[in-house]
Symmetry: C2
């Protein structure tokens, strides 16, 4: 017997926040460092992130984007060139004041985001319309000195990708902004099994310096929203501030049009809160580091270990991320361990199975265990994984739909939120004061103006004026 | 005609340093940022780095290592726990003193390397021998406030991987240290076509806090050495300083044994200086972002563009990183451009080739162009790429062997170095004072004590005492 035990975790419906913390530590995703807001991503979390990165990166490359690497540090004067950006970020950046024993002439901030350095570079390398578009992306970590922090969801350091593109025309930049949002939505739904709502942020909620911010919003098991990715249309604001110009087809100087877009490790938080249950994590097969775990039962009996090893080899050869657990822990301990880790498919094999030429499949999404022939087990495993991927999506979709409410008045909205958090679909006149009033009076903020607008006319629940815009309101991580 | 021209670069033998700078800028690898020592890795350089990363990462994973992510910032008090480390790195770290508008209680340094944070984490997660070994790696950037900087070779920020492992026994840790050095040497020679000498650093040259530092040393075209990778055996020093202990098989508390090892983007500098020539970069096919470029000739003639497109598709389908250049630049311009970029294989196709069912292959390593049948072109291209990879290695190996000198006295060594820089093989008694004296008197430092020692006895060229250790001395980047 091993000295390690699988401990129970807090029930999801008793204390969602504690349940979340239990999972991030007990599934061995995170270790807290000695520095508040800075976490250690342990092998299992980093392997999930590598799989997520691969999914997005493949799409970025397929659509003609190049990865680059920009400096970690930004001189204060460079940050200050764009006033919205400096107002938005200056209060939360970390400042470097000394290099070695010498005091720096100018403070440098650790990048909270890299618009400034991309712009500085673009100004060097863009001269003519022939140099456009520039479609760049970088995978890195950024630092923002947040007051409250939570693993994956809000950290002083977090990992992300930031895409930065520059275009000859406004239309091309708008197409890029919306095209990347589509890619985000597709990867979220197809790979992370996380249904999302595509929409636009209101003026008060958009990115510092952007003309328009679009987002994908997903709903967690507790009915709160998670902003899972954002795509910004910058217009010419940054390009003007950083003196980026190009000679156009008409031989005159023009200012290019710009976008940026990002997803981060908060997606891992989203996966936990979308799919996890009282037994632990549940990982979508598309991004699970281990898709199938083979557990030998009564492994001391002749042939069992060998058969389990053969099974792992066959699954691996078929392109499935498979592992066998040949440790001396009990099968029961192992079952609990891999439930906690969210491994989508568990395959058991014991002496009797071996005799019958079968093994047993157990899905992390539930249902009875069932017998599968060893002959052709790879195909059965692939079918099972596809089914589990779909089940996770369907369950998440059902949860989301259950908690999307329609409300015409603040009272209706408040009553629904009092029963269970969710997205409230409610009209809005477009006045920021009314948006603020919704928050003040019933505590929910605008999540997004969904692309899918219903046609019916309505009135603003605050001012009573005619209002044709539907907004999703709710609580958010 | 495009507005961009391929410009000539400085000749390699006229001014090696200027030639290097010309290549890093004109092959579009690097852009200088506004901040000294911080460079922008443009798409082409980052694509090379991604390919290099993949080669190493595959080997790390194959040998049971897990990737993780550690915090970017380290509290000053944590750095100070190991005195050699703080003495070695404190003079060159960047200090963060403010988070947002608030002054921090304790200064934080941007990681110059991550031993401290790995140790802090290991202390949390290692309790028993069952938790060992821990074989971790992280890909990240680090910051060291260097006085003189040069793209890829020495920067205030650079990208690398740092492996950190913890073991139950001393032997296991030694095996790991040397095993990783073997992997470094293998990838350098097999993928980067860069011959290396495996050896150990002298005491004066080892890593701060290490018991022993091993290295792979390669030789650049100008005869100077480049330290291309290092692997350190830490013994129990760090583990003791950071209170890492585990319950052993004997049920008593023990201190584990530790290693660390790293390679960085300076390998790209090494590739440039090992393989580049007066026409630009020459990239080993194994890591070239574009392995084969297809250039249509007289592309206005019917069928040429279509045939070139088909060729690119066929090569791509066969797993070759191929691209076609269909721009309106002249073929001559394109030839120069891809020579500069170091694309290993150029394939030309024009109307007459098309008629004859052939295309023309030109190797970046030289030799005459030759005809290749379109039918089966994928196989021919793979053979050509394998040949180019081997040629690059052979040429680099020849260069290295030409400039390895044997010397018994300082005068001999100095005379050889005066003709052309290289590695001087010379005996050493082991006294650091004699090592220092070699440097003072003829300006060359010890590069390494090679694993391949010759048997013959000798005397130290400084003190005249019997000396059995052969050392490679030389100039280094």
């Amino acid at each position: 017997m091993a000295d390690k035990k699988v401990e129970a975790i807090t029930s999801r419906d008793v204390d969602f926040a504690q349940w979340y913390t239990d999972i991030v530590t007990k599934a061995e995703l995170i270790d807290y460092s000695s520095l508040k807001g800075f976490t250690i991503m342990r092998p299992y979390a980093w392997a999930i992130w590598e799989n997520i990165q691969k999914k997005f990166d493949d799409e970025f490359k397929r659509t003609g984007h190049d990865n680059v690497s920009m400096p970690l540090l930004i001189p204060e004067s460079m940050l200050q060139k764009e006033k919205d950006l400096v107002e938005g970020f200056a209060p939360e950046v970390a400042w470097v004041t000394h290099g070695g024993s010498e005091k720096l002439e100018e403070r440098l901030c650790i990048r909270p985001t890299s618009e400034t350095v991309f712009c500085d570079h673009f100004a060097h390398v863009v001269q003519s319309y022939r140099d456009l578009p520039k479609k760049y992306n970088q995978w890195c970590s950024v630092v923002r000195w947040e007051k409250t922090t939570r693993p994956f969801l809000r950290g002083r350091e977090f990992h992300w990708q930031e895409g930065h593109t520059l275009h000859e025309t406004e239309q091309e930049a708008i197409d890029e902004t919306l095209g990347m949002l589509d890619i985000y939505a597709d990867v979220a739904e197809r790979c992370l099994a996380m249904p999302v709502i595509k929409g636009q942020k209101t003026e008060s909620d958009k990115f510092a310096g952007a003309e328009a911010t679009y987002c994908i919003e997903s709903m967690m098991h507790d009915g709160k929203a998670l902003q899972a990715g954002t795509s910004h249309f910058f217009g010419q604001k940054f390009a003007s501030a950083y003196d980026i110009q190009f000679t156009g087809r008409d031989n005159k100087l023009h200012t290019p049009w710009q976008t940026s877009w990002g997803v981060s490790t908060r997606l891992i938080g989203g996966i936990i809160m979308t799919h996890g249950d009282d037994n632990g994590l549940r990982l979508p097969p598309e991004i699970a580091p281990v898709q199938a775990v083979v557990v030998p039962v009564a492994s001391h009996k002749p042939g069992v270990t060998e058969a389990a090893e053969k099974l792992v080899a066959a699954l691996t050869a078929a392109g499935i991320r498979a592992k066998g657990d040949f440790s001396d822990n009990s099968p029961g301990w192992k079952f609990a361990e891999y439930e906690m880790k969210g491994v989508p498919l568990r395959i058991e094999i014991g002496p009797r199975d071996l005799e019958a030429g079968v093994c047993m499949f157990a899905h992390r999404t539930g249902g009875d265990k069932y017998q599968v022939k060893l002959d052709g087990v790879e195909t059965s495993a692939k079918e099972a994984l596809a089914k589990i991927q779909q089940e996770l999506y369907d369950q998440a979709k059902e949860n989301m739909e259950k908690y999307i409410y329609e409300a015409d008045t603040l009272e209706e909205a408040a009553a629904q939120m009092a029963k269970h958090a969710g997205f409230v679909k409610m009209k809005w006149c477009g006045d920021p004061a009314c948006e603020e009033a919704v928050k003040d009076r019933i505590g929910i903020g605008s999540r997004c103006i969904p692309f899918a607008q219903d046609k019916k006319a309505g009135v603003c629940p605050i001012c009573g004026k005619p209002a044709n815009t539907t907004v999703y309101w709710g609580l958010a991580y």
